[in-house]
């Protein structure tokens, strides 16, 4: 794609470098991958005005087998319609948060928002239930029984809910995550 380099101007590129954790190559690669998702008629348009619908984003192999893919799109989407569509800048935000050099704080913040299924700012028991179901798979034989689920959620809250209000909030979540040694290495998506 000869036009891609010209589409991403030098100034814009350096600005992206400053605003994200990505290196120049990574930004260019992201741009390439993003333009591959675009429709023919979109290519002519200005990059900042385009949004790629969620269904299209989910076809990326990096997201295809991720159980949280829809949540990820919704969290990073700045679309007012809440349809999970991503502009190029949203896409860069996504990659930046999942990049190698992103800080623990950023990662845990976005992880929290991804796990917060109902967007209410806390992880309550229904969020946790959703989360566990996502992890273990949605089919009936892979799902935990109600009794097991109840016990599990009780245990999670016991471990993480420090102020005992029945929900896990961001600071509690970050506290728990900060002591989870494998989180940073696993919360990563590389194109």
């Amino acid at each position: 794609m000869g036009t891609t380099a010209s589409q991403l101007g030098k100034d814009l590129l350096s600005e992206y470098q400053e605003l994200t954790f990505l290196t120049k190559q990574e930004i260019l690669l992201a741009h390439k991958r993003y333009t591959e998702l675009l429709l023919k008629e979109d290519l002519a348009k200005d990059l900042s005005s385009i949004r790629v619908p969620m269904a299209k984003i989910l076809t990326l192999p990096e997201l295809k087998s991720n159980p949280f893919r829809q949540r990820i799109c919704r969290v990073f989407s700045t679309s007012g319609l809440n349809d999970g569509s991503l502009s190029f800048e949203d896409f860069l935000d996504l990659l930046s948060a999942f990049s190698d050099s992103a800080t623990m704080e950023i990662k845990s913040h976005y992880a929290f928002r991804i796990f917060d299924f109902d967007d209410d700012g806390t992880l309550d028991s229904s969020d946790l239930r959703n989360l566990v179901n996502c992890l273990t798979g949605e089919t009936n034989d892979t799902r935990l029984t109600n009794e097991e689920m109840r016990q599990l959620i009780k245990n999670i809250l016991e471990e993480s809910d420090i102020d005992k209000d029945g929900t896990v909030n961001l600071s509690e979540f970050q506290h728990v995550i900060s002591r989870s040694p494998d989180f940073v290495s696993s919360f990563k998506i590389v194109l």
Binding site: H109, Q151, R179, S186
Partner: protein, 839 residues
């Protein structure tokens, strides 16, 4: 939390109100309370004024620190803000605008910093692009992702293997430059080494021959595996180079593995100190976002499910154990005792058979009867075969036995492992012991020159044994992969036979595999003293084990159903390795210090024991060095050194304790912050309700926020600070005072709901029996508007006489007289507040 408090500070009209609100925070209250209780007697003596000043001083300090923190928050690089790009960009322009207001020096400094950072990034990128085999490394990264699906534990197993390759290479280089090179360069400079070529028993020659032979064999094997690898993956040789290159860079970066495991250990320490966090780890950090393969995702799901189920099961078992009756306990302990006796018996039998086999093989070799090649080979390798067999059978036995012992599942695994470690590492010890018993006993009772003359070069003999063990170990690992795991996989995959399905594919059990390579390393360490080339052989051996294991893992194995965590495994690996090292040192030290060295060959022919080299060398040193070394070995130095070490250790232990305490305190603080948050949310909720009612009257200031701010949990519920902008409505605030009681109570909230709550406020002051104030107020509030509800009840305790406010307790009772709430007054001004929602 922080931002919430700031919001309060910013929005509430006066400094007085904000202070009042902040004083009400549970954390502030308990801070006061704690200060009161900890500073017990001192406090009582101090005057009220001092109390007040200290209290407000403290508050001032924390306010300042908060402001500092805020500043720090602003200085954070923009990319570290969790905001969408557009907001980040506007932040950036805002910051730039602010920067223009700054003094020119600071402005210059900021721009310089930015410039340096940009330069560094560009440089890094450039370096990255020139780096050798960059694309190959990326490829291996990709392969690592493949390994990833077997869990982080497997990854660290391979890191460990790589670490061992490096370690052996270093040992070899040291041995080569300090032992072999002097011998090769100047054979007669380093002592009299007799080359008695006529004698077939001659040490060095024989050893070299042996080594050459096996090296040829080894190279052959290597070629085969390289060839095999090439079939599986093209350009594998090149990839090997890449791995090698990586080793070196890894080594240069300060032994990443050991530091990584050290952090893991630290984390373990901290985690052991506080709550067990397994469930949260599994749920919140359980999913590996790198997984791009549908199959791997499925595997990950099932393993997570399995883990969760087993953990829940474990908890249930723990519950069961706790509920055990005494009779059951007795029964279980009896069973455990018997089974442990049985285990000891098994171990003894194994050790005895190793002993017998060693002696038998040694004697057979002594007789030197050439029967036939195969039998000779078997005789020669008999100890190795017996040890390997024992190592093969006992883990099975142990894993069966453990089922009857009824431990918790986690402990079961650990205990079996401990038994296996003991078995493996001691078997080498037994082998050495039997060798030594052979060497040091002779037919005529006192040996002529301290050892059996039949072993004129016993050092070489020991070296040979170690060498044989190393080779045999390697062969077994290779054979196990090719002849056991591979057919097993074929059978499982291609047979629909029930039993085969039940048997399943080989599981890659990390503990067993680690034990295997640590065992090899221990042998290597023991053997290094007797045959300096052993580390080189081990380097090569591990290099190929890396490939064998990788191929076997990817092709033959399925991931373990119970994955091993990277953080815990790194530490475990090093501990086992350390045990191996300690075990390796023991026999070598004994042999160096105690057994007479052989008179026929080796560098120590002129000394009775190898140890004597040291005193002789020291006596040849210049006088200054001699006195220095003698001083080092004197009792005075030893004792003082011991004391200093003890002190250092004591200091470190004390430090660790202090850190633990700090962690606990921080946790308490978190709990407190949580309470603050809840309190404020409740207030906010009330305020919101009020404002909803009054929304027609007061025009809400709408703040335009495109995305919900997630700084605190509430701010997404309630659109930022809109509702906080309302101060407590004046009309709803009644100032009531009770005359005659000496106290005046200010009620923050207004009249109550229809249920007409009864408030009984008991204010009891007790100041040296001087003043007893008892105020019982029955107050019944009628509602002005039914929508209003009481938020809280608070006020000041006032007195004409000077009293100690900190002693006053305020209680909230229901009509029936049951205590609902109890609080203290603020010691400075007698302020108190009782939240009465939900009561």
């Amino acid at each position: 939390m922080l931002s919430l408090v700031e919001v309060f500070e910013a929005n509430l009209s006066g400094p007085l109100t904000s202070n009042l609100l902040l004083d009400q925070l549970p954390s502030y209250q308990s801070l006061l309370y704690r200060r009161k209780t900890t500073g017990g007697t001192k406090r009582r003596l101090s005057t009220r004024g001092r109390l007040g000043s200290s209290g407000s001083g403290k508050w001032g300090v924390s306010t300042i620190s908060r402001q500092e923190e805020k500043q720090k928050l602003e200085l954070k690089p923009i990319r570290e803000l969790a905001k969408p790009m557009a907001e980040k960009r506007s932040d950036k322009t805002q910051r730039l605008a602010e920067a223009q207001e700054l003094s020119s020096w600071r402005h210059f400094r900021q721009s310089a910093r930015r410039f340096v950072r940009r330069l560094k990034e560009d440089g890094d990128e450039w370096l990255d692009s020139v780096k050798l085999w960059r694309s190959d490394i990326h490829l291996i990264e990709g392969e690592r992702q493949e390994l990833r699906m077997f869990g982080t534990g497997i990854q660290s197993y391979f890191y460990f293997l790589r670490f061992l390759v490096m370690l052996n290479l270093i040992i070899f280089l040291l041995m080569f430059s300090f032992v072999m090179l002097p011998i090769i360069v100047a054979p007669h400079a380093s002592g009299n080494i007799s080359y008695n070529l006529n004698d077939g028993e001659d040490a060095s020659f024989f050893l070299w021959q042996f080594a050459c032979l096996h090296l040829i064999l080894l190279t052959f094997l290597e070629l085969i595996s390289i060839w095999k690898n090439r079939i599986v993956y093209p350009s594998s040789a090149r990839r090997g180079l890449v791995i090698f290159h990586e080793h070196i860079t890894d080594l240069l970066s300060g032994g990443g593995d050991s530091s990584r495991s050290a952090t893991g250990f630290k984390r373990n320490l901290v985690q052991d100190a506080d709550r067990f966090q397994s469930f949260c780890n599994k749920i919140f950090a359980g999913w590996d976002f790198c997984i791009t393969n549908e199959n791997a995702a499925k595997l990950k799901r099932s393993s997570l499910l399995y883990e969760l189920r087993t953990d829940l099961e474990e908890e249930r078992i723990k519950q069961k154990i706790a509920d055990r009756t005494r009779k059951e306990k007795c029964r279980i302990y009896l069973i455990r005792l018997l089974l442990n006796l049985f285990v000891i018996a098994v171990l003894a039998a194994c050790f005895y058979s190793i002993y017998i086999a060693t002696i038998f093989s040694q004697q057979a070799q002594m007789k030197n009867t050439k029967e036939n090649f195969m039998v000779d080979l078997i005789y020669e390798y008999l100890p190795s075969i017996v040890i390997t067999l024992a190592n093969f059978i006992t883990p099975f036995l142990f894993s069966i036995i453990i089922n009857f012992e009824d431990y918790s599942p986690a402990f079961e695994i650990r205990f079996t492992l401990m038994r296996c470690v003991f078995m493996r590492l001691t078997s080498i010890g037994v082998l050495l012991f039997s060798l030594w018993s052979q060497i040091t006993t002779c037919k005529e009772e006192p040996c002529f020159c301290g050892y059996n003359l039949l072993y004129s070069c016993w050092e070489t003999r020991v070296g040979q044994e170690m060498y044989k063990l190393t080779i045999f170990d390697f062969i077994i690992i290779a054979a196990n992969t090719i002849f056991v795991e591979f057919p097993r996989k074929l059978i499982v995959r291609h047979c629909d036979w029930g039993l085969a399905k039940l048997w399943g594919q080989q599981e890659f059990a990390i503990p067993q595999n680690v034990l295997e390579i640590v065992y090899g390393q221990t042998i290597c360490w023991i053997g290094t003293f007797y045959s300096p080339i052993l580390p080189a052989i081990c380097t090569i051996k591990y290099f190929f084990i890396f490939y064998i294991k990788k191929v076997s893992l990817i092709n033959n194995c399925r991931p373990a159903t119970r994955p091993f965590r990277a953080s815990s495994s790194n530490f475990f690996f090093l501990v086992v390795l350390l045990i191996g090292l300690a075990l390796a040192c023991l026999p070598v030290i004994v042999s160096v210090a105690h057994i007479n060295c052989s008179q026929a060959c080796g560098p120590f022919v002129n000394y009775t024991t190898s140890w004597e080299v040291l005193p002789t060398t020291v006596s040849q040193l210049p006088h200054g060095w001699q006195t220095f070394l003698y001083a080092l070995s004197s009792e005075a130095f030893a004792v003082s050194f011991f004391v200093v070490t003890c002190l250092a250790m004591f200091y470190v232990i004390a430090l660790a304790g202090a850190h633990k305490r700090v962690i606990n305190q921080l946790r308490e603080q978190l709990v407190m912050e949580g309470r603050d948050k809840r309190f404020l949310i409740q207030k906010l909720y009330q305020a919101q309700k009020v404002s909803v009612v009054r929304s027609s009257a007061s025009k809400p200031r709408s703040s335009s926020s495109s995305s919900p701010s997630y700084h605190t949990s509430f701010s997404s519920n309630f659109n930022e600070s809109v509702f906080l902008a309302h101060p407590p409505p004046d009309s709803a605030t009644h100032r009531l005072s009770w005359c005659g009681s000496g106290g005046s109570v200010l009620l923050l909230g207004s009249a109550t709901d229809q249920s007409a709550k009864m408030l009984r406020i008991i204010i009891r002051a007790d100041f040296g029996a001087l003043w007893v104030l008892l105020c019982i107020t029955y107050s019944q509030f009628m509602t002005a508007s039914s929508d209003d509800i009481v938020v809280a009840c608070g006020g000041f305790v006032k007195s004409d006489v000077e009293i100690n406010y900190s002693l006053i307790e305020i209680k909230l009772y229901t009509k029936q007289g049951s205590l609902k709430y109890q609080t203290d007054c603020a010691p400075i001004n007698g302020y108190f507040m009782i939240p009465i929602y939900d009561k």
